[in-house]
Amino acid sequence: MGKGKKEKDTTTNDDCWWWLLQKGTTAVFVTVGLFALLVRVAVSLHPYSGAGSPPKFGDYEAQRHWMEITINLPIKEWYRNSSSNDLSYWGLDYPPLTAYQSFVHGLFLRFFHPNSVALFASRGHESYLGKLLMRWTVLSSDALIFFPAVLYFIIVHYNQPSRSRKSELAWHIAVLLLSPCLILIDHGHFQFNCISLGFTIGAVAAILSGKDLAASVLYCLALNHKQMSAYFAPAFFSHLLGKCLRCKHPILEVLKLGLLVLGTFAAVWWPYLYSTQSILEVLSRLAPFERGIFEDYVANFWCASSVLIKWKRLFTTESLKLLSFTATVITCLPSMVQQIKSPSSRGFLYGLLNSSFSFYLFSFQVHEKSILLPLLPASLLAVEEPFMFRWFTQFAMLSMFPLICRDGLVVPYLALLALFVLILNAPGQHRATESNYFHKYLGSATMFLILCCYFVLHIVYLTMHPPEKYPFLFEAIIMNLCFSQFVLVTLGCNIKQWLLNKPANLEEIEKKHI
């Protein structure tokens, strides 16, 4: 049963979704939200990462192990290697907020199924009830953090009179809540990205509504749940700085924000603040530099170019760290400068996309799952940039395809991809002929060709064996294709962000909205 998305311009002719829309934002949100929950529950029936594959299992076992550790050991020992906490076996490597969340979920598991989180004895625990309870921890996190954050964003974003088109609003809710990548990773593969991404959306919404202080607290929470949220840091930093500089007392404003950030961090890190050593202990867990510049196959610059340049052989880890850091900073600099010069809501959203992209493409130790971070601002921009969003999501899906195959999630992958395309093309949709840079630069023939490659790659990857000489040939092709598309997207968005500065352009955009 799906209710899905509705979409449609209420003022013109007969539209399909008027009956869902006329009840107002909350009714639409509840309907779409229930549908999104249904999809999540259905995906969670499928296997998780590392199901039935000892001795290391996968992310599912990691999360379960953290619950086991946090409810059985005192808080000071969570990040410390000891006889009862073997850090080489899925040791905690996320910031304290994740640990607290594991603690709460661990209590929940212990209440219903103590065996699944018993110290030592539960290593590699797999059971019907155990899986169910674990799945429900993600579902509840999603429903309690991500969903309200999306509602908050929608309310704020569509509060401006020029953006009051209801149909767009409904479509936007559907797109945000039914992002196929997020659902696959959280409810299929098994992770808790919904929490940090939910906090991030909350922070974005707070900024859009002018509550900068609340925004910085929410963003710090996101950062303290997953250090990967730092991908957004340049955008938040530059936008808030730009805003402060325009205030009467810039120093005061910056001080206020700085103190609030420090305060939030201190609160979250409180149990570890008793000595420098304990802080360093935790910090060293958060930055696993020993794992190399990239793992597996990820569609970023280092992995894609390693086909030609063997980075790992040519450089030491130290110099690679420096190299990647420099590349990341250089690439996110333009969008930062734009935001400091002229902070604006739209510019901020583009800035989020651009800064997270430069981290994804150039930073050290990137996972294929990190594509979720740039995807988030892209989905916030879905109404402004529908084509870019669709194109990006499709290739983000492809870039995770090898991972999904390993997890045995091909069926939900295909179903979610189809569902995503169906929602984008919901009947009765009002299709503004968008003048987008993609069409301009690519031309429809090239696009068609790329799309063909896209489908062929799926089929080839599923059905054929790579030549023995190059066992990772298909992965490499997939990653290079995705990388090229990601670069196009981020180039386009950087240009767009800078074009926002031109007043003439602004007017044009305004016109389009009215």
């Binding site: 049963m1 799906g2 209710k3 899905g4 209420t10 003022t11 007969d14 399909c16 008027w18 009956w19 869902l20 006329q22 009840k23 009714a27 509840v30 309907t31 229930l34 549908f35 929950l37 249904l38 999809v39 529950v41 259905a42 995906v43 029936l45 499928h46 019907y128 009830l129 169910l132 579902l139 069926v411 939900p412 295909l414 179903a415 979610l416 991809l417 189809a418 569902l419 395309v421 169906l422 929602i423 984008l424 093309n425 919901a426 009947p427 009765g428 949709q429 299709r431 489908f455 799926h458």
Partner: protein, 534 residues
Amino acid sequence: MGKEKLSFKAVHNSHSPKITVWWFFLVATCIKILLFPSYRSTDFEVHRNWLALTYSLPLYQWYFDETSPWTLDYPPFFAYFERFLSSFAHLIDPQIVHLQEGLNYSSNKVVYFQRVTVILSDLSLLYGVYRLTQNLDSRKQKLIWSLVIWSPMLFIVDHVHFQYNGFLIGILLISLSYLEEGRDLLGGFVFAVLLCFKHLFAVAAPVYFVYLLRHYCWGGIVRGFNRLLIMGGVVTAVFASAFGPFFHLGQIQQVIQRLFPFGRGLCHAYWAPNFWVFYIMSDKGLAFIFRKLGFNVQTPTASFTAGLVGDSSPFSVLPKITPFVTFIMVILALSPCLFKVWKNPQPQMISRWIAYAYTCGFLFGWHVHEKASLHFVIPLAIVAAQTLEDARHYFLLSIVSCYSIFPLLFETQEYPIKILLLLLHSILMWSGFSAQFYGGAETARVPTNSKKKADQFGSEDNSGAATKKGFVIGWIGGIYLIGLVVVEIWGQILHPLVLGDKFAFAPLMLISIYCAFGMMYSWIWQLISIVKSV
């Protein structure tokens, strides 16, 4: 990936109803695919066994084979259908169709294969509902599509529990659509085909018979007789092509025995919420009272909760019910409707009459399954948007009947799924009906809209009174629905907490009894509306 291509096309003519109905279907398909790994009942193995049996054995052994306890007990067309599917199954994995080695086979291949066959066979539902709604205005169309194609009951019964109801009900809808168009011969033909797929649909046969006799065959002795012969010939041909081979082999008695296993008892293991629930309960109540009064009442040896029931009477006080009694009851309940059909056979009423016939069969029939409520809930969806009264009745009925099949999915894993399906369905119905009956006024953008509205409402006061408010079902309905929530909370949480393992059957019994009230209400409502109709 075919879906991908299709939706690209949708971009260009997104207003075409065909594309839209496909969109509804494909969205549902995505969810169905996601439900692949969910719980499946023994019906899954039943159908797998039928695949194996029809593939591996020659026709003359089909109705005799007893390799598995799940013997073939559907009419021949369904067996042919399984034979057709089994040739694909053989290509996918020969073990699926192996009579012995395939027993309880449960690899991903067989699960995916059989689930896909259900999804594909749902195309008949898509076609049926599209045919039935093609002349309606696009708003109603979409409302009906979302009620039928996204029916939570079909998801639960077909795509989790595992059966082919969508396919069969689709055939029924196709037949109804022909009747509504006045193409009676085709309608009768399709219904005969349906009977040869699943004989349980025969409950509506009296209505079909009277309707076709009066609407198709009436008018002049020669013309009428000719038409009677034509119709009779068509129906006979259908039945001959189904049962002919078995008749030829002299097995017809065996086939009939398999199709009508009357040894199974009045009620299914889980009582369908029908009239007999009240009968059993009053028997128990009377026995209790008599015992208190000092009479010696024997406790029956057979039990209702034990599934297969033997010959002994399960009642202690009230008379034993035989299949014949239930048959008479069904006919009696049907008679007012048959009378109406005879008096004035009008095509636009046929959906209601057929739905009413299945309601009677559900309430008074022998060994009724709770799933049988699909047979009238889905056809009623077609007329649910016609008047406010219809909508109110349908709202209540579809929630109650969906809730009554909840016990089918008893594993924890599917618990959120059934709840979410029902909630989503309710909210879709609620916003759909509100918009249909209260929403149009303020916008008034389509002039034809208000005109249509005027003819829709028999009684004007309905439309006027409640404008601008949401869709309301009245306080009795509201309290009844809240009661459902209470029953569910009792069964899921309070009962295990308060009583522990004692009376483990009580929550199920409570659901049956409670839902039976809703079903009785629906029957009475339908009866009254049919009797009152002009």
